[in-house]
Symmetry: C2
Subunit: 282 residues, 2 copies
Amino acid sequence: MIIDWKKVAKNIYENLKKEIKRLKNKPKLVAILVWDNSSSLRYIAQKEKWAKYIWINFELIHFDKNITQKELEKKIISLNNDDLVSWFIVQLPLPKHLKENEIINLINPDKDVDWFHPINQWKVVLWDENWLKPCTPAWIIEMLDFYNIEVKWKNICVIWRSNIVWKPITNMLINRQASVTSCNSLTKDIKYYTKNSDIIISAVWVPKLINKDLVWDKKTIIIDVWFSIIEWNIFWDVDFEELINLWHDVSPVPWWVWSLTVAVLMKNTLKAHKIKNISINK
Amino acid sequence: MIIDWKKVAKNIYENLKKEIKRLKNKPKLVAILVWDNSSSLRYIAQKEKWAKYIWINFELIHFDKNITQKELEKKIISLNNDDLVSWFIVQLPLPKHLKENEIINLINPDKDVDWFHPINQWKVVLWDENWLKPCTPAWIIEMLDFYNIEVKWKNICVIWRSNIVWKPITNMLINRQASVTSCNSLTKDIKYYTKNSDIIISAVWVPKLINKDLVWDKKTIIIDVWFSIIEWNIFWDVDFEELINLWHDVSPVPWWVWSLTVAVLMKNTLKAHKIKNISINK
């Protein structure tokens, strides 16, 4: 199966656009930017662009980069209490003098459409489909859903490195009754697990780790979540070239994968908007 | 390896006793009992007995079973704000007319020695050894530590059913760099995973699921976390009789396993006491 990433992203945005266009009362998203480095500026610009494309009102609050921890905390508390702000996100990373975790923990969990707050992350572990989803792991699920790839009772191997992003995907898959093996780059006999997997998800940032030795079954679906850039070249965990030559249908995740993350953020915003309107009309 | 459960439990209690006896300022634990069914009464009695044995002051607050949600919430908030109460636990289950989750979420996470609050549970997912541990998964770790069983780089198969208790053990093992396969009772080809495992942890409540077909290696360590009682007979997930006959060293978890859970609760209480005293003396 060749994954057409553009189709997946386009599908989410077009569905959201169609639905939001019809709403009288449009959702609004407030974004807080503290550290305006080039990568954050680009990310925020994309969030703005896509929000506007699908009729979500977008407001940017740009704080001074030298804001103190206390001042930023005060601003967060005032946004928590401001009835006119239904949801807001804080663009990460924050400058090094600020304690990122403490800021995230301070956000009112009900206003956290990024789904970063520990209480919300814990909901992901327990899985409650009524809630929002953390954006990066959620696009993996979106992609699987788009292609009608059932995960229930499937064997899935997740090769991971970092904590916050890849733990939720493991828990989300377990909640959908998949049998999930969490490997790391030091797993004894990693091949034993990959070769028996229906799906392999890799996020370990070891170039070409997943090659013909590890993938035996041509039906195995391989998802590379991210890539590493080494000396201006993009490397994936998956050796796509080798696997394509062996007639596997594999498709590298595109460099604009963050646009899928943004798509889920917008989906969260609409969902939060609907949940709020239901509780108002009650 | 034959697990001497009594030795594991005794070791924890004796170490705690030795340490607490020496403290001038003894830790105190407050327990809230709402529903005084026979099983909760027995559990609370054990908590009291063991607390006293190791010199922890124990106070029981017994509320009326018919207390309303609002009244109980008010009591929890007053305990949250009472400087004389450093930690407290709420004995579960609560009577059906009360919303258990809402009560747990209301407890000040800093006073929650049961480690049930979502913020605390999320810390377990992220793993921070400076914090306390949820009691049931933690005794599995205690047992492994007691017998110097290293989990790093080991292959572990966790067969699970419920949400709150067994998810943390999976995340705790992943955090210790084990490769963990989470199976359920419907996993395709479960044998494939169990037979390659250094450790199998089962908590699925299917009598005799783990038998000679699933365990090939005599060095595999098998931990049955709980048992089911069917018509007055105890059944384990593991077919201990069959495996013992094949010269596996296996030892069924004893019926008094909750005393290990209580041991970890007491360990949490001492740890919380020490953390608090450090921050006071700063």
